[in-house]
């Protein structure tokens, strides 16, 4: 029964992806691109929600991981198709690195158990020697220098490391060895792969690269809290963007052309589905609770045996991994990427999606991602009476904003201070909105008197940041927990909404996809 349900939901998830693919292929290029964008943003928002909402770590550099994935995958494809054997080299390096680590692990395993002071002294000497060789090699041309440094370091670690390290080292070594072997084989036998399989491989490469970036950034910075973490992640985002912009081999500021393009819309949506499923699975099992408890109270979590830093890093790595995979998809779909796609704006849009949907609610992230990636396109598509893009006068924009202020003020007052039955409250909300419309008209009438405001014309498409900002401010004032709060979509919840919740069993598991 369990497996039947599972198979059905997995089939439903994959089926939905193909349905979207099918629908998209009968649309214009523009609409198709929009559908892809929605899919990517859902992945990004849900993965950021794992970090920001579920684990409660305020990261605002998500676009950086998106970029790492995109550029890594794009660059790999490019190199591979330009020079098919060129990338076998890195695979070999990783392979050798893995062999070294595995050997090291074994060596430590069989090193003397009790390390005497003499041994420690020799170890320190060897490490020092390695340093000297390293410095010396900067000035001279010793061909065997890397081997020498390696041997010396190996020796010093062998003499110094405690035995407990050996197992971890050996396991890591074997893992890296395997990765290197796969990498090497891929570039050796890659030419026979169909484009789709290649894209899947690139998705894994992009995801893995971003995950490593997440680990590197996360390990030191996740010991920070709140604002400090936000600053570090923001800084990381900028570093990546500027670094890429100044690398000619990555296309620099011009951007990078990636060919051949691979554009399976269903795969992009499948990534979104998998991302949603993984996050949902985490929250539904007991393994999700440490993540939630870290959000609630770090000291208490720690006292309950939760390794706070580890939990944060895991969330960060999983989140970055999905962002990186989404980046790889973007690179191969668009065929062209530039640093501007991954600027701070993108990070903030993803963050807005998470906050708008409700931090911690996966459903909220999905809905908000769809909404906010569609909204700017909708604004851009608006047509004026003369058929050109709609433009509005400065006066009406300003009046509209003042109207929003009036509406928020009234509704907030009703929300906080009126305790009356629901219908009366609803009527008061409607009254507030009506008052806002009236206020807008009055202000517009007054503001049109000013010639400069009247003659200022703003295209609707350019208002998207204003709309985002206003949405967020309104949200913060009226519903700080976001559209969905901590709630998730489930059929019982829908039934409750229609007033039948009394009979339904409490908190039935979500019949969402579980891949």
């Amino acid at each position: 029964m369990f497996w039947l349900k599972r198979l059905l939901s997995i089939a439903a998830g994959i089926g939905a992806c193909f349905l979207i693919d099918f629908v998209a292929h009968h649309q214009s290029d523009y609409a198709q691109r929009l559908i892809v964008l929605v899919g990517l943003y859902i992945t990004l928002a849900v993965s950021l929600n794992l970090i920001n909402g579920i684990t409660g770590q305020f990261s605002i550099g998500h676009a950086a991981f998106y970029q790492v994935g995109a550029y890594l995958a794009g660059f790999t494809t490019l190199t591979y198709f330009q020079n098919q054997k060129g990338m076998a080299g890195p695979g070999l390096v990783v392979f050798i690195g893995g062999v070294t680590l595995a050997c090291l692990g074994l060596a430590i395993r069989f090193s003397p158990e009790e390390k005497s002071d003499t041994l420690r002294f020799i170890a320190s000497c060897l490490a020092g020697l390695a340093g000297i060789v390293l410095i010396a090699s900067c000035f001279t041309n010793i061909p065997f220098e890397p081997y020498l440094i390696g041997a010396l370091l190996l020796g010093s670690v062998w003499l110094k490391a405690p035995r407990e390290v050996s197992r971890t080292t050996a396991v890591w070594g074997l893992a890296i060895l395997a990765a290197g072997a796969v990498f090497y084989a891929l570039f050796k036998f890659g030419p026979t792969l169909p484009p789709l399989a290649w894209l899947v491989v690139m998705m894994v490469v992009g995801g893995a690269g971003a995950a490593v970036a997440g680990l590197v950034v996360g390990l030191p910075s996740l010991r920070l809290r709140g604002d400090y973490l936000a600053i570090v992640t923001m800084g990381f985002g900028e570093i990546i963007r500027i670094e890429v912009q100044n690398r000619p081999e990555l296309g620099g500021a011009y951007g990078m052309n990636i060919s051949p393009k691979v554009q399976p819309i269903w795969l992009i949506w499948l990534l979104a589905v998998v991302c949603i499923a993984v996050c949902r699975n985490l929250v539904k099992t007991a393994h999700g609770l440490p993540f939630l408890s870290v959000r609630e109270d770090e000291v208490a979590s720690s006292a309950m045996g939760v390794n706070v830093t580890q939990v944060k890093v895991i969330a960060f790595v999983i989140g970055s991994m999905f962002a990186g995979a989404a980046g790889a998809m973007l690179a191969h779909y668009e065929g062209f990427i530039t640093g501007a796609t991954f600027a701070m704006d993108t990070s903030f849009i993803i963050l807005t999606m998470v906050v708008l949907g409700g931090t911690g609610s996966i459903t909220g992230s999905v809905v908000a991602a769809a909404l906010l990636s569609y909204l700017p396109e909708y604004l851009r598509g608006l047509k004026g009476p003369d058929g050109t893009a709609l433009s509005v006068s400065g006066a009406s924009v300003l009046a509209g904003l003042l109207g929003v202020v009036v509406a928020v003020a009234i509704i907030k007052r009703v929300l906080d201070h009126v305790h009356k039955p629901k219908p009366i409250k609803a009527a008061m909300y409607v009254g507030g909105l009506a008052a806002a419309v009236v206020a807008k008209l009055i202000f517009q009438f007054l503001l049109t008197k000013s010639a400069s405001l009247r003659d200022m014309h703003i295209e609707a498409g350019q208002l998207r940041m204003v709309v985002f900002a206003v949405t967020l401010i309104v949200l913060m004032l009226l519903r700080p927990q976001g559209m969905f709060g901590h709630h998730e979509f489930s059929w019982t919840w829908v039934m409750k909404l229609f007033g039948r919740g009394k009979n339904a069993p409490p908190s039935e598991p979500t019949p969402a996809v579980a891949a």
């Binding site: 499923a277 099992t285 007991a286 609770l289 109270d297 208490a300 006292a303 045996g305």
Partner: protein
């Protein structure tokens, strides 16, 4: 062999010596009270034992191993769990989930299995929930299992903290003012709960409390701290009549 031993444990914050050369030891199955006036260093002692602070000097020995300076989460794993003076529940989680967080410490299934929603992870989740429900039974909170923990009344929140701490299956349970803010009847109930924890759940209990009737009625050994110094140590009857304790803390009978 004693379960927990403090050997000259001292902690200084800058120029202030919060706890000065404290020595006591707990045997397995003890019901041990730690009392003293406000600011005497009782909670600091707890923080030292549970790894929130590292002692400046001295040792904390748990089951013959020096644990001073070990991180909190590792100490929890070794078998010491605690409650907090200013309640620190996971407010947005349900009562049941709060306890499952504690029980999760002894989980066996790995994360990947949970991410893929495989049967082992699902079964384990069910098992942990069962365990948590059984513990909620002990503190009489089972009917409220699905309520948001912040919505519980104060006394129940304290009991929930105890259940959460018990869920980590500790050998030593530290209770920081478990009866604060409770009415006399609730205090009586709590006393029987604490006894039950010791007798039926096989845990050693170390508690801080200001209510003398509670401490004297419950604990078998009492340790008195004042200004970070140890001023008395012994069974309740002895401590109650100790002139130093009366002067520092209990006050003269009128």
């Amino acid at each position: 062999m004693s379960l927990l031993q403090l050997k000259d444990a001292t902690i200084k914050f800058g120029g202030l010596t919060a706890v000065n050369k404290v020595n006591f030891s707990l045997e397995k199955g003890d019901l041990f009270g730690l009392i003293g006036p406000n600011g005497a260093g009782k909670t600091t002692c707890f923080n030292m034992i549970t790894g929130v602070y590292e002692p400046t000097s001295g040792q904390i020995v748990f089951e013959d191993k020096d644990i001073s300076g070990t991180p909190s989460n590792k100490i929890a794993k070794k078998g010491i769990s605690r409650t907090f003076q200013n309640i620190r529940l996971f407010h947005d989680l349900s009562v049941l989930e709060n306890v499952v967080v504690g029980a999760f410490l002894r989980h066996k299934v790995n994360l990947l299995s949970a991410l893929a929603y495989l049967p082992p992870a699902i079964h384990e989740t069910e098992e942990l929930k069962e365990k948590a429900l059984a513990l909620l039974e002990v503190v009489d909170l089972r009917p409220l299992a699905n309520i948001r923990s912040a919505d519980l009344p104060y006394g129940s929140q304290r009991r929930l903290e105890i259940a959460r701490a018990m869920a980590t299956q500790p050998k030593l349970l530290l209770l920081d003012e478990p009866a604060a803010g409770m009415n006399p009847q609730e205090k009586l109930d709590l006393m029987s709960v604490v006894r039950k924890i010791r007798d039926e759940h096989d845990m050693t209990v170390l508690l801080i409390e200001h209510d003398m009737r509670f401490v004297m009625g419950l604990c078998e050994k009492i340790f008195v701290l004042d200004h970070g110094e140890q001023i008395a140590y012994g069974p309740p009857a002895e401590v109650r009549n100790d002139p130093k304790v009366i002067a520092a803390y209990l006050g003269e009978a009128v």
